[in-house]
Symmetry: C2
Subunit: 341 residues, 2 copies
């Protein structure tokens, strides 16, 4: 597990406030004789059902980053709660639909929504959460200003389009023999980085900073997301060498087109030959990982991760986050980005 | 087919403008290497693919009503184009997801999106259109005012929640032996009436009328949607008697829990007995329709439709729509509401 101790103390204060905000927003979901819909939403948020609790709720890092960015940019973190709740809801709506699209069975250790309620109700509940996220965001008109709410709304809608563009590419990858590296970056930019970029920029927007500073927060979040995803790609193939307890070489067996794989395919060498010959059995995966390592796939991916990490930290430095919240942001970013060590 | 000649002339002017607005909004869907996503969206809108054209585009009545309401309430209909485009996109996003949820094969005479691109891409494209609708709406900040955009945003998000609440109930009906009449009204209120209510209220909002007048436009749209749905329920069982070419008694064969059926079940008489005994064959449907007629199901439903029609027309009178647009609204409402004659 990644060490995220830097954010622990703030999370202890912020998470209950976020919970209150979310409860307020989702209450309207049951006011039309739709208590079951409300129950589905609280299940997804990890509050109800079997094994409800902190693990089922997830780390809520995106929402916490949103609140921290607001405070570190000179605002009051509580004013950003409508935005943080929106981020958390958008994340959960996209998880529900992703799990249907990818045939995912488990999420945070529990059966996915569609496994329990069926696809039809799960698709629809994802849509309901999407609507609630949008509604939540506009509550910024009361905590910050109508102008900020409008501006944040525009940002969120662009972000959601990016999310679906990334997901579109990701689904399309499965049926493609070859994927351009550029397309990979577009996919990750949409699927992983866009919402984290919004979390940071939206938080800074709530502090009503100038456009330039907002851009630094956005870039910090964007490249943090990119770096995180690329590191995840490394861990998915070579994780076992560094970290115990992590299921490894799994991405090869599931034939996931991650960055090292795309690099290896582009080399058109031994890795590409084995990959193209068909199924990869778990017992052959370590050897294939070794071939990919030898052909430069690991070094290339690590260089990419390092580049994204640098871009993220440079942007954070330019954003110049202040006070305790600023320190927590800096420290948490470093902990996230150094998880391979 | 319903005679909607009153709106034809306005549609000739407004539809090309709506098309331009929609094209502007959805252009960003392809800017991330996602031309295929853009193509899926234009297919859904009826612009591309086999049998593209006016029939595939649909009547766009919701969007036209939005524009007419703006003009009739004292505004310029062109200022409401961002709202009308949003309505059209929300309607199409919900159709895509509904078709997956209901296993729908055909939509406006063409294969549904999921039949062509698969469920995963179709769910995701629905989400993309949802995001684009939200983005479109906020363009009202440029055509009307930032305050109107914010207010319309709040309305739209509540409307989308209502849509999903209605859909939740509708999906749940399938597994229920008995459905309360009250729950039926909540279902139709969300699934059919909410978006039409938004179309009218959103249009009036673009004319910056007072809250009371906005409420009249909303009620007009809401009860128009309700009346239309209830009439549809009648036509789905007894349509053949009045209209040629309409597939009839179909709702009995598919065991759809429409208002006359729920009324019949609540009577617990002969209709309820036959219904509960299992499958209804097409050849037995006319007789069952006759039983339901005898037990009062048709009269009850017609009274309900009349009540909704009255409420709709009273609200429209109070809204007092002005000029040619006002006349078109009045006339089209009457044509929609009298389609059984």
């Amino acid at each position: 597990m990644t060490d995220l101790s830097a954010v622990t103390s703030f999370a202890g204060t912020a998470r209950p406030a976020l919970r209150d905000e979310l409860e307020k927003v989702i209450a309207s979901a049951k006011d039309y004789g739709t208590q079951e819909l409300h129950k589905m939403i609280t299940y997804q948020l990890g509050w109800t059902g079997e094994n409800a609790g902190p693990k089922a709720e997830g780390k809520q890092l995106r929402a916490l980053f949103c609140l921290l960015a607001c405070q570190a940019a000179g605002g009051e973190w509580k004013d950003a709660l409508p935005a943080a709740a929106a981020v958390e809801l958008i994340h959960n709506f996209s998880l529900i639909h992703d799990d249907i699209e990818d045939n995912g069975q488990l999420r945070r250790g529990r059966p996915t929504m569609w496994k329990i309620w069926g696809e039809a109700q799960a698709i629809n509940t994802g849509d309901a959460i999407f609507a609630l996220a949008n509604a939540s965001l506009l509550n910024l008109a009361e905590t910050v200003s109508p102008e900020a709410a409008l501006e944040a709304g525009k940002l969120l809608h662009t972000t959601c389009l990016r999310l679906t563009q990334g997901q579109h590419l990701d689904i399309a990858f499965e049926d493609q023999d070859q994927v351009e590296l550029e397309t990979y970056w577009q996919m990750v930019g949409g699927k992983t980085a866009a919402l984290l970029a919004f979390s940071l920029e939206g938080g800074a927007l709530c502090a009503e900073v100038d456009l330039k500073t907002r851009g630094y927060y956005r870039d910090f979040g964007y490249y943090l997301g990119m770096a995180f995803q690329v590191q995840d790609d490394i861990l998915g193939i070579w994780g076992e060498e560094e970290l115990t307890g992590k299921s490894t070489t799994g991405d090869l067996v599931t034939r996931k087109k991650t960055l090292p794989v795309l690099y290896g395919l582009a080399q058109d060498g031994e890795f590409a030959k084995v990959w193209s010959s068909g199924e990869i059995k778990p017992e052959n995966a370590p050897q294939l990982a070794e071939i990919l390592h030898r052909e430069g796939g690991r070094a290339y991916t690590q260089r990419s991760a390092d580049r994204m990490t640098d871009l993220s930290l440079v942007a954070l430095e330019k954003a110049d986050p202040q006070g305790e919240a600023g320190e927590i942001l800096q420290e948490t970013a470093r902990q996230l980005l150094n998880r391979r060590e």
